[in-house]
């Protein structure tokens, strides 16, 4: 740690170094610190892109002078960010020039995980992958190939899976993130919520979130809308066991006992119904099952909820009043990463019901309607034969669509795919491609993850860094970063649908390629005769449909749909339709009943930690994404190279732990690496909180490794929500010990 950390004030006290620096000759002074921006701009190369430091996809303009990208700025017209970039977006330059990046294809020479690789040519590495994959297909069938992918190049690899004819694709954004939210929303409103986060926050009068740390998760457009709404006077109500940055900005912070959110929601529903705070017109006209709901929550009074949740009944009533006063210009957010306690789909159902009681569907300040571009997104690959096009039907390993009937097949269930590989059921999966995703940091338990990879004959990773997943791979392909690639034009839905454009800000610094190019070569080498269009061809098809020239995108980076459809159909007096069995908003879910689940959410108390235990909570920091950015020095410097474990003060005192002490998290025989204690009353006494993405085992990401910290993935639970099939991480109990 000490080697990478040097604080601002600490440095001023280091007299020896200062003296050395003073002797720097004057000539160096001028050249090394030349003002990049002051020079003549003749050699300036400006290019358009979308940011891939997280998955929100903000429009970015990249400035390159004399071959070096020196500045990134938000595109003013992009509806995702309107000219703004967050800390991560601004630090994309560090990632581009990070010395730890993957630079050449690698083939493993030592044991898996040992970290011994040799450099290879693309020809050799691709042949290796093609031969091994073909061999596995011959022996075990097409389904033996699996894919876990996340990011702009994922569609290239999804194409590869279609070409091969394997159904075993899983996008972790479902089972490890938003799956339960999408299903819970779908069951209530007949449509998924979608990653657009369609809350009309900028026009809202009251916003409420349950553990959705909206101002610290930082998706630029969403953060802009929420802060804009608050600046215009919107109340913010925030429920979280922890005093996060969102809690700090909230008008009401409810410090809830972790695991009891559903009790709070039922308490609110009870009070809203009994105090007649609901939108009677909307409920009468558009909701089904109100009487059943009323009956079902009869005993869930605010006083009952107080006992379960530790949120005072008065506060619960106050929250309901605030929402009702603002209705329908209010919204209760259904969360984003909803992988908590295994009842997450019902959790979202209850939030869906609360919103329905407010009647805020398709109204200003409530939820807006998402619209689409009126174009057909062309396929880059003309696939000759696929599972879909008359190939034989192969059973999925993960049970999406069968055992978990509501889990969508195009997203799959990563958690169940991994289990299936481990158990060899229903058939052996022997090949895995991992694109842009790091299983070890989001699949619970390192050891199990290793065992799963050990079941494979071939593990292939395509990434920017030599991540933990790459460390356990047989072949690693170095991907060009977003600033070095061209990708097909992206077609985006949203409040203001648009297309986005990506062109290289610089030639690739190393021997790296993009996912489309790589996949085309692998498919060809495997012997498939599919035609891949060039990215330029695909772009031309899109531009022709839009009737615009490429110059528009080169100038603005985006092209926003010019005709504006109504996004508030309810407020515009249109009749609303819902794609549910009853055609209404289902307070009582007919689908749930059919599938054997509670048609109205019911609260069952979860197992709670013992007196010497803590529930392990984890989440985002404003300036990091998943496990992707922890090697970025600019970002690590923002939190002074320190990883804090939030520990409740009373229990910390008993353990003799004070702020600043080094601690480890212990679960059975597992012990985490070191974190710094942050002892506080700002977290419920049942829980500790750690930021996600640390406790790394790959030494090839030098700074991330040096940061120490705990890996939540290695310590959390691996439960399943029975309705959505998605994971449940927050059922793990841990202890803390002083180092």
């Amino acid at each position: 740690m000490a080697s990478i950390k040097m604080s601002r004030r600490g440095f001023l006290n280091t007299a020896a170094i200062s003296a050395a620096a003073m002797s720097v000759p004057f000539t160096l002074k001028r050249s090394a610190a030349s003002d990049n921006n002051a020079k003549e701009d003749k050699k300036l190369h400006i290019s358009q892109n979308w940011c891939e430091m997280c998955f929100w996809g903000c429009g970015v303009t990249a400035y390159n002078r004399e071959g070096r990208v020196f500045k990134l700025e938000g595109q003013p017209k992009c509806p995702k960010n309107y000219g703004k970039l967050c800390a991560r977006g601004n630090s994309g330059i560090y990632q581009l020039y990070d010395p730890d990046r993957l630079k050449k294809p690698l083939i493993r020479t030592g044991k898996r995980g040992e970290g011994k690789f040799r450099e290879a040519t693309y020809e050799e590495a691709i042949s290796y992958v093609a031969d091994k994959t073909n061999k596995a297909i011959k022996e075990y069938g097409k389904g033996t190939v699996s894919l876990i992918a996340h990011g702009s190049g994922e569609h290239a690899f999804i194409n590869l899976m279609s070409i091969i004819g394997s159904p075993n694709t899983a996008i972790p954004a479902y089972s490890q993130c938003t799956g339960s939210r999408e299903i819970g929303w779908f069951l209530t409103y007949g449509r998924p919520y979608t990653g657009n986060e369609p809350i009309d926050a900028a026009n809202s009068k009251c916003l409420m979130f349950f553990g959705r740390n909206v101002l610290e998760a930082v998706m630029v457009g969403e953060t802009q809308r929420v802060t804009e709404g608050m600046a215009k006077g919107a109340k913010l109500i925030y429920v979280d066991p922890r005093y996060s940055k969102t809690a700090a900005k909230a008008d009401i912070w409810a410090k809830i006992k972790p695991g009891t959110d559903l009790a709070l929601m039922l308490g609110m529903i009870n009070y809203i119904i009994n105090a007649k705070l609901y939108n009677i017109d909307f409920v009468d006209k558009y909701c089904s099952g109100f009487d059943e709901l009323k009956q079902s929550v009869k005993k869930n009074t605010p006083e009952w909820a107080e006992k379960e949740t530790n949120v005072p009944a008065e506060t619960i009533k106050n929250i309901c009043q605030e929402l009702s006063n603002a209705a329908p210009s209010c919204a209760i957010g259904p969360g984003r990463r909803l992988t908590r306690y295994g009842d997450d789909t019902q959790h979202v159902r209850a939030i869906g019901i609360l919103n329905a009681l407010m009647g805020n569907w398709y109204t200003p300040g409530g939820f807006y309607k998402i619209s689409k571009m009126d174009i057909v997104t062309p396929h880059i690959c003309e696939i000759e034969h696929t599972e879909v096009k008359g190939g034989e039907k192969i059973e999925r390993v993960d049970g999406a669509g069968s055992e978990y009937r509501l889990a969508p097949k195009n997203l799959g269930l990563e958690n169940k795919l991994m289990k299936g590989i481990l158990q060899g059921e229903p058939y052996p999966v022997k090949v895995m491609f991992a694109y842009g995703t790091n299983l070890f940091q989001h699949y619970p338990d390192y050891e199990e993850c290793k065992q799963i990879i050990d079941k494979l004959d071939l593990m292939v990773t395509c990434d920017v860094y030599l991540t933990e997943t790459a460390l356990y791979s047989d072949v690693i392909f170095p991907e060009s970063t977003y600033l070095e690639r061209k990708d097909p034009i992206g077609v985006m839905t949203g409040k203001y649908p648009y297309v986005k454009y990506r062109e290289p800000a610089t030639a690739p610094l190393y021997n790296t390629i993009g996912a489309y190019e790589l996949v085309e070569k692998i498919a060809k080498k495997m012997g498939y005769k599919n035609h891949f269009k060039t990215i330029d061809d695909v772009n031309k098809e899109i531009l022709d449909q839009l009737g615009i020239s490429i110059d528009v995108l080169k100038k603005d980076g985006v092209y926003v749909k010019p005709t504006f459809e109504g996004i508030y159909p309810q407020a515009e007096g249109k009749d609303l339709k819902f794609n549910t069995p009853s055609g209404k908003v289902e307070l009582y879910s007919v689908f749930c009943e059919k599938l054997g689940f509670d048609p109205i959410p019911k609260y069952t108390r979860h197992k709670m930690p013992k007196d010497d235990e803590f529930r392990l909570l984890f989440g985002r920091q404003s300036y990091h994404t998943h496990a992707r950015t922890q090697n970025n020095r600019w970002l690590l410097a923002l939190h002074d190279f320190e990883i804090k474990a939030w520990i409740p003060a009373k229990k910390a005192a008993r353990l003799g732990i004070m702020t600043g002490n080094k601690v480890r998290i212990v679960k059975g025989d597992k012990k985490s690496r070191e974190l710094t204690a942050y002892v506080t009353d700002e977290i419920h006494e049942d829980a500790i909180f750690i930021p996600h993405g640390y406790g790394r085992i790959t030494k090839f990401m030098e700074l991330a490794y040096a940061m120490d910290g705990a890996s939540d993935a290695n310590l959390c639970s691996n439960g399943t929500d029975p309705i959505s099939g998605a994971s449940a991480f927050h059922q793990a109990f841990v202890k803390i010990e002083k180092v």
Binding site: A21, K29, K245, A248, A637
Partner: protein, 189 residues
Amino acid sequence: MIKNKKYVMVYAIDRCVDCKACMVACKAQWQVPENHFRTHIDEKYSPGKYAPNRKYFLPSQCNHCDEAPCVSVCPTKASHKREDGIVYVDRDICIGCKYCIVSCPYDARFFNEEVGVAEKCTFCLPWIQQGHQPACATTCLSNTRIFGDINDPNSEVSKFLAEAKRNKSKIWKLREDLGTEPNIYYVQS
């Protein structure tokens, strides 16, 4: 008579969510040495209703003081006050003596060990002369930072401050008791 420009910055601190985008945007724009920043956001506390103490976020940077201690202590006049209000360090003249760093009551300066000079915020001079906003204000997600010429009554800063006065918002500057005449305005409703 046309007055000189006088550049100032206003922070609407109710808006700040501590995302720290400003810190990185500035770092990228000026290639600030690895572990240093020219602007910071600190967590502060005030008595609150729902939390033990209410947390808020306070940005800071060079205050471009009218009576700048860093300017008066500089032995070579490398640190100087420009006509447009910006306190600037001429790197060709700075000898790296660090008097200015110690003299700054706002801890806004640091020593650039790579170049051997004192360094701090320049309001993005000369970038702003090309018609741009400072990097921190450009990227600020929540529009906390407002930059402009306070001598121009039609500038965004002037209008914002006038409205804040009308709304009886709390307006202050840091350590005005020191007589440094700082030019960063903090506004809270």
